[in-house]
């Protein structure tokens, strides 16, 4: 039987052991149905998820709900929306009770006296031109001022085919603002300029992502294997999609056979009762889904499949470390 220590040298084995017992159990929460932007291609609004559930306004109900989530075993609350910073009391209710990550468009600065080490992921959809086109304004000029040099914030840089060949300038701007970034790909079913990732473009963007990681290792939080998985949608000959996706809300998961999946994962709507199908919108086509967290989780839940060769296991360790860094389970 292949064992972990027979495949890894001392240093890599130490890295493996630093993450092997983290047992991350995440769930996702729509903190609000409102947003101060209306981005073209936002999965939340384009699939009308903002109208699926009536937002719970009573803070005490949020607090009781979060306590129940904690009892359920959740140890990572991922806050999305709408725009969570429009409801700081709710964000605080999570932050006081659970390890919490907050996604934001960065237009409102989270007061750091109230949230000293809350991990913040700021969305960015490309350069000024793309941002104006897709989001109606250049958010970077505001968000980079709000979070400049913040050690607990990073950019979630969503790449579209329009940005092939243009990513380096963005990476440098983020570096110059004293921040880090994580790259993800826009899925192609969100009605943005009807774009479609061609196989050629995916090969091109993978090489560009690798190049950014190699050239800016202090700024880019990523791994080559993650680039491979997200651009090819394949792992050991298996294809990512509905049959394999680990990020399906557990109580709604009727798949048979059930694939390896995130234990206890639920994406909750803001009424605190409604559950969404998965970590992104129900209208998305699983066969072309490029959700970054779902792809990372796909690797993470398939650990034993990677205990094959030294390189396979190192790939797994790097993806898990990347996730653990992005959600503050281990330091940068």
């Amino acid at each position: 039987m292949k064992t972990v220590s027979s495949l890894l040298d001392k240093e890599w084995y130490k890295r493996y052991r630093a993450i092997s017992r983290l047992n991350i159990r995440s769930s996702i929460y729509d903190v609000t149905n409102r947003c101060n932007l209306r981005c073209r291609g936002c999965f939340f609004f384009s699939s009308s998820e903002d109208r699926v559930a009536k937002e719970e306004m009573d803070l005490q109900k949020w607090e009781a709900f979060i306590d129940r989530e904690k009892e359920r075993g959740v140890n990572l609350a991922i806050l999305i929306g709408g725009e969570p910073t429009l409801c700081l009391d709710r964000v605080e209710a999570f932050y006081r009770r659970l390890p919490t990550f907050c996604a934001t468009n960065g237009l409102i600065r989270l007061p750091r006296d109230r949230f000293p080490d809350l991990m913040v992921g700021i969305s960015l959809w490309g350069d000024e031109e793309d941002e104006r086109l897709l989001r109606g304004r250049d958010t970077f000029s505001i968000s980079s001022r709000n979070y400049e040099g913040d050690p607990h914030a990073y950019y979630l840089y969503t790449i579209t085919p329009r940005q092939i060949g243009k990513t380096e300038r963005i990476v440098r701007r983020i570096r110059d603002a004293g921040l880090k970034l994580h790259m993800q790909l826009l899925s192609n079913d969100e009605g943005v300029d009807q774009f479609f990732w061609t196989d050629e473009e995916l090969v091109g963007i993978r090489a560009e992502m690798d190049h950014m990681l190699d050239s800016y290792p202090e700024t880019v939080v990523s791994s080559r294997y993650y680039h491979q998985i997200i651009t090819t949608g394949k792992m050991f000959g298996r294809r990512f999609g509905w049959d394999e996706c680990p990020s399906v809300t557990e109580p709604l998961d009727r798949r048979d056979p059930r694939p390896r999946r995130l234990t206890g994962f639920i994406r909750w709507a803001s009424d605190l009762r409604t559950m969404h199908r998965c970590c992104t919108s129900e209208t998305r086509d699983c066969s072309t889904c490029k959700d970054g967290a779902a792809h990372m989780s796909w690797v993470m839940v398939n650990k034993r499949a990677h205990i094959r060769t030294e390189q396979d296991l190192k790939n797994w360790v790097e993806v898990y470390e990347m996730f653990a860094k992005l959600y503050r389970f281990i330091p940068w």
């Binding site: 972990v4 017992r21 047992n23 075993g73 234990t263 839940v301």
Partner: protein, 84 residues
């Protein structure tokens, strides 16, 4: 006939090999003290799969909060024996 810890250890190893489809190992040569997380690479989902079968077979309940303690086959066998 009462089962000894050694019998239970072998049976747990067998369940683990079958349920997790472990290769190149037999119940007899599976080191009962090998760390399941740090060496075999099992995770909580694997342990839950094994626990389901063990619970059914021995008519006991394995509390999920106890998973972190069940780090070797020998420790699982002892846990089972204490509850039989």
């Amino acid at each position: 006939m009462t089962e000894t810890t050694a019998d239970i250890t072998i049976r747990i190893a067998e369940i683990m090999i079958n349920e997790l489809k472990l290769e190149d190992v037999t119940p007899e040569n599976f080191d009962p003290d090998m760390d399941l997380v740090d060496e075999v690479g099992i995770d909580s989902m694997d342990l839950a799969t094994v626990a389901l079968v063990v619970q059914d077979e021995y008519g006991i309940r394995i509390d999920e909060d106890d998973y972190p303690k069940l780090t070797t086959i020998r420790l699982i066998a002892q846990y089972v024996q204490e509850r039989m």
